[in-house]
């Protein structure tokens, strides 16, 4: 990261090689189609290049930082869509269906990812759905309440319980939440 901060393109290329796949995967999950996912990743990495000085080591890992930029860019894109409704249906329908490659299972990162998926499986479906609508689809809590015809307090309560359950999953195993 220090070399990216001073504008070293080779260091930036290495950063992309290391995190580009995960960034694209998140963007694809959010946007539901390749071209938009590509646009989101491109814009996000340009922002990474321009604002690398804003990264603070103690706050989050580089991966978390980059993924948060990808996610924010994706949310901006989703919210600016005129055809949001139809697209969101597509996004929700496209929820993880593909299977990981063999190589995937061999990576250390995957160990973390598998664990996160296991943690998410411990959530009741109604909590998971609300977390996903907020995180991947960019709905506000008000919009989620309207969409699911739930009281706003119920939506907030499920968000709180869902996150608490995720944290508890790691605490129960004496493990730190991956950063």
């Amino acid at each position: 990261m220090p070399l990216v901060e001073v504008g070293d393109p080779e260091a930036f290329a290495a950063l992309y090689d290391r995190h580009g796949r995960m960034a694209y995967s998140l963007a694809y999950r959010m946007m539901g189609e390749k071209q938009e996912a590509e646009d989101v990743v491109q814009e996000a990495f340009i922002k990474v290049w321009r604002s690398a000085g804003g990264y603070r080591v103690g706050r989050a890992s580089v991966r978390t930082w980059i993924l948060s930029i990808v996610r924010n860019r994706g949310i901006d894109q989703i919210r600016s869509r005129a055809t949001r409704g139809s697209m969101q249906e597509k996004v929700e329908d496209s929820a993880p269906t593909s299977e990981p490659s063999d190589a995937f299972a061999e990576t250390w990162r995957n160990t973390q990812q598998e664990q996160v998926r296991e943690a998410l499986k411990t959530l009741p479906q109604e909590q998971l759905k609300i977390l996903e609508l907020a995180y991947f689809s960019g709905y506000t809590h008000v919009e989620i309440a309207e969409r699911l015809e739930l009281p706003l307090g119920t939506v907030k309560g499920r968000m709180r319980l869902g996150l608490q359950k995720l944290r508890d999953y790691y605490q129960a195993r004496g493990a730190a939440v991956p950063r």
Partner: protein, 243 residues
């Protein structure tokens, strides 16, 4: 909306970290956060939990042209990157090497401005810089963190001459029956099995069997006796070798 106070902060913090507050409410929440920096840590921790969702997605291969597009944009914006990169590397070296190297590096920079007549000397000094850069440094230590430290274990990776390393661990709890500790050197997200050990007494020192140069991290897991080809448990200890 109502004015922000502690009660409302508590009510909305989960919504905030999920990015699900409407714009106006989000701005108000963030103003409150700025006015109460003591709450920042709690929000960062909660954001980490929310960020787990990003790790749950199945991986997709980015289009092959995407990297080229991004790099073309970056390089177009910075046409002098090769020169800047060289200088950045030089100053980086000055920052971390000894005084002799710093002096040599400064001389290199100075001599560049003398022109053709001094090019030979410049080349000589560049050689000296490279030579000094390639000299082995003293041992460096990297502390390992993770769940194991919560059980009182303490471990450091000591990098030695070249790219070799030794893992020094203290107060490691005995591995469960039929299990052993296994070291992993992680390069490019692939963990390579790099040695087994059993703690004997208070401390143990184990040679890491794979080079650590260029690795992202070194980790320790508990594995079945004889070790595993791939990690089968969460890491007890992890240390980042490079940022």
């Amino acid at each position: 909306m109502n004015g922000m106070d502690q009660e409302r902060f508590e009510d909305l913090k989960d919504v905030y970290v999920l990015g699900a507050l409407p714009e106006e409410e989000r701005l108000e929440f963030e103003r409150y956060l700025v006015a109460h920096p003591d709450l920042q840590g709690e929000i960062e921790e909660l954001s980490t939990v929310a960020g787990l969702l990003a790790l749950s997605v199945w991986e997709q291969e980015p289009p092959p042209g995407l990297r080229h597009k991004i790099m073309a944009t970056v390089e177009a914006a910075h046409p002098d990157t090769s020169r800047r990169s060289w200088l950045a590397g030089l100053w980086d070296a000055v920052g971390v090497r000894d005084l002799a190297l710093a002096a040599a590096a400064v001389l290199v920079v100075g001599l560049f401005s003398w022109g053709v007549l001094l090019q030979g000397e410049v080349r000589d000094l560049q050689g000296r810089v490279q030579s000094l850069q390639s000299q082995p440094q003293g041992p460096q230590t990297i502390a390992l963190g993770g769940a194991g430290t919560e059980q009182g274990a303490r471990a450091e990776l000591v990098t030695l001459k070249g790219d070799r390393a030794v893992l020094v661990a203290e107060n490691m709890p005995p591995a469960p029956e039929g299990k052993t500790y296994q070291i992993w050197v992680i390069k490019g997200d692939t963990p390579k099995p790099s040695g087994l050990f059993e703690p004997r007494g208070d401390s143990v020192a184990v040679v890491v069997e794979n080079p650590v140069e260029g690795a992202e991290a070194v980790a320790v897991t508990i594995e079945p006796e004889g070790g595993s080809k791939k990690p089968t448990t969460d890491p007890m200890l992890v240390g980042k070798v490079k940022a």
